[in-house]
């Protein structure tokens, strides 16, 4: 049956809570309302108030209480209503949760998922458009995933719930209802730490993740048709730990790499990908690694401003052509 990206998230939560009674959800408006985006819809009716916990507006509490329950064997799935608000819980994530196993000498676990609805392109402006993944991809002890398909939205969330470490799950808001797919019914997981080749190609590689994947695939179709270019598209799916082998494999294969993400350019995750390739696949490159990302500005509100800042299919097409011509 065809379902949307957000239905996939909702299904994963239902199934995981049904499968394991230690799984519970907690966050702002996750109960009666079913979440600001309806990701937790129906959970209250199915599992009751003790496992579907509405909290005050208190992100540090939400993550911190998740840690406390997780170290005692629970598997909390906590929600940041918008990924933008995750900064309010920054200390609890990077200092409390991420260091927990380490500072307990390996004798404690923090099996927690932090769901973070991220991304721009929905006129959310400065504080409802952010892609804050790069703040976390340099923190040992965390895992960071960013599903770009309906299948992965479900499979990665299930994998995250079953993982014994804290996982930040960035779900892209623009994909919630725009993305539909017919995925298999029943239980499956998408392993954390494994990238996926979305399209094979010969002349150039695009490495991307999250909300930018479909724009990259559209751009690849356009240049295939109009320019006869054969473009490979690698979806990272997990940013931390990064599937280094997959990145280096595609770089070595085509010799030209374009890294695309919706997050800002400077300090964005694309820098890490580019550095990895420069360090380990330099001899195989036929051109400098190129990055296409949001401009180094806040995600402005007015449509012409937002469009100017964000990457889109046309900008990706231009970047492919320029790189192919190098």
């Amino acid at each position: 049956m065809e379902i949307t990206y957000i239905q996939a998230i909702n299904q994963a939560l239902h199934e995981e809570m049904h499968r394991d009674e230690n799984v519970f959800v907690m966050g702002e408006d996750v109960g009666e309302l079913g979440g600001a985006f309806k990701a937790t819809e129906g959970l209250l009716a199915a599992f009751g108030e003790e496992r579907v916990i509405d909290t005050p507006i208190a992100e540090a509490l939400i993550v911190g209480a998740g840690v406390g329950a997780a170290v005692l064997g629970m598997r909390p799935v906590v929600e940041m209503q918008f990924a933008d608000f995750i900064s309010c819980a920054f200390d609890q994530i990077v200092n409390m949760a991420a260091t927990l196993r380490y500072r307990h000498g390996g004798r404690a676990s923090c099996p927690m998922v932090i769901r973070a609805p991220s991304g721009a392109g929905v006129h959310g402006a400065l504080f409802h458009s952010q892609n804050p993944e790069a703040w976390f991809t340099r923190v040992p002890g965390l895992k960071v995933v960013a599903p770009a398909t309906v299948y992965d939205a479900k499979g990665l969330l299930k994998a995250a719930v079953r993982d014994d470490d804290p996982v930040i799950y960035f779900e892209h808001k623009r994909l919630y209802r725009s993305l539909k797919d017919d995925i298999p019914e029943g239980d499956f997981v998408v392993p954390i730490g494994v990238a996926e080749l979305r399209q094979e190609g010969e002349e150039l590689s695009i490495i991307t993740y999250g909300g930018a994947l479909n724009q990259c695939l559209d751009a690849a179709r356009i240049v295939a048709k109009e320019d006869g270019l054969s473009v490979e598209v690698l979806d990272l799916r997990t940013l931390l730990p990064l599937d280094r082998e997959a990145v280096l494999k595609t770089a070595r294969k085509t010799g030209k790499v374009l890294v695309v993400h919706e997050d800002r350019l400077t300090g964005g995750f694309g820098g890490e990908v580019a550095a990895l390739i420069a360090e380990h696949a330099f001899e195989d490159l036929d051109a400098p690694v190129r990055r296409l990302a949001a401009l180094d500005a806040h995600t402005a509100f007015s449509p012409p401003l937002e469009e100017y800042i964000l990457p889109n299919t046309n900008k990706i097409v231009d970047a492919i052509r320029s790189l192919a011509a190098y």
Partner: protein, 342 residues
Amino acid sequence: MPEAQTKTEAGAVAHRVEYELQLYNWMKLIRAFEERVSRLHRQNKIFGGVYSGAGQEAICTGICAPLQPGDFVAPLHRDLGVFLVRGVEPGRLMAQLMGKETGLSRGKDSFLHGGDLERGVFGSTSMLGSSLPVAVGAALKFRMKRENHIAVAFFGEGASSRGDVHEAMNFAGVRKLPVLFVCENNRYAYSTPLEKQMAIEDVADRAAAYGFAGHTVSGNDLLAVFDLTERVTRRIRAGGGPELIECKTYRFHGHSEHDAALYRDKDELVQWESRDPIPLYEFYLEKRGHDIKRIREEADARTHEILQAAVEFAEQSPYPKPEEALEDLYASPPAAGRRQAR
């Protein structure tokens, strides 16, 4: 009065007497342990930050003694006593302070950041107050699983200014969770005195705003802390919701061993030294008819023995291997580059 009942009462009294001596031994051990740690620090055998709780022993002892196995305790950096009273082996604790492989965190973090969850002691971070939301989460688990345990979170009056403390107390109040909040008010956040931290005198006053009871008690009076904690924890365990105990106290040392605490008034220190919790409790035991000289000597001999063994164990323990720096980050190594259909 039937004979059997008299016997039971006599038994209870004997038990109480025994217990009161045990409390004394704990305070003595904590004080001696911390004095040893300060000395080892001066000798460069313990490096990094050392935060003495000297002067505050009655709090760790009085709060933790009435707790039960399975309760969750989140101590502060100054609460070495919590580890000891909860039953963490002194040797492992000393090894922790020396960065040894046998320490609680296997050399990963310094001082008291290594917890021992088997004994219900959660390792804190240096972001003071951040353990309070965690304790609230532990209490949520007890509630969900119908476990008759409570969570105890220590914080200073310094940390009471942090948002985490507000968020945790507010939510604990809303959900009536089994949490005991313990404020160790030692009047200084590093060098900043109470009057520059808050516009009120008692942190306990804030409890009312969260819908639960707040108590103040002399944190240097062991029996007062113990008796209050017994009453309060009984209510919390019975489902009465969170409560806050604010212990008024003073640290005899500076913020850390590097800090001469010159910002404090000498007279103030002398006044508080005269309220030292250990002689205060000895006075009580004497009033109870104990031969305090004998008890003190016995306690000193006992703690000396424990500490000798702990230091020996820690000094003989190996340092971790360098490459262990990359262990304990994750439960298991990341998945290898396995491919997956679709």
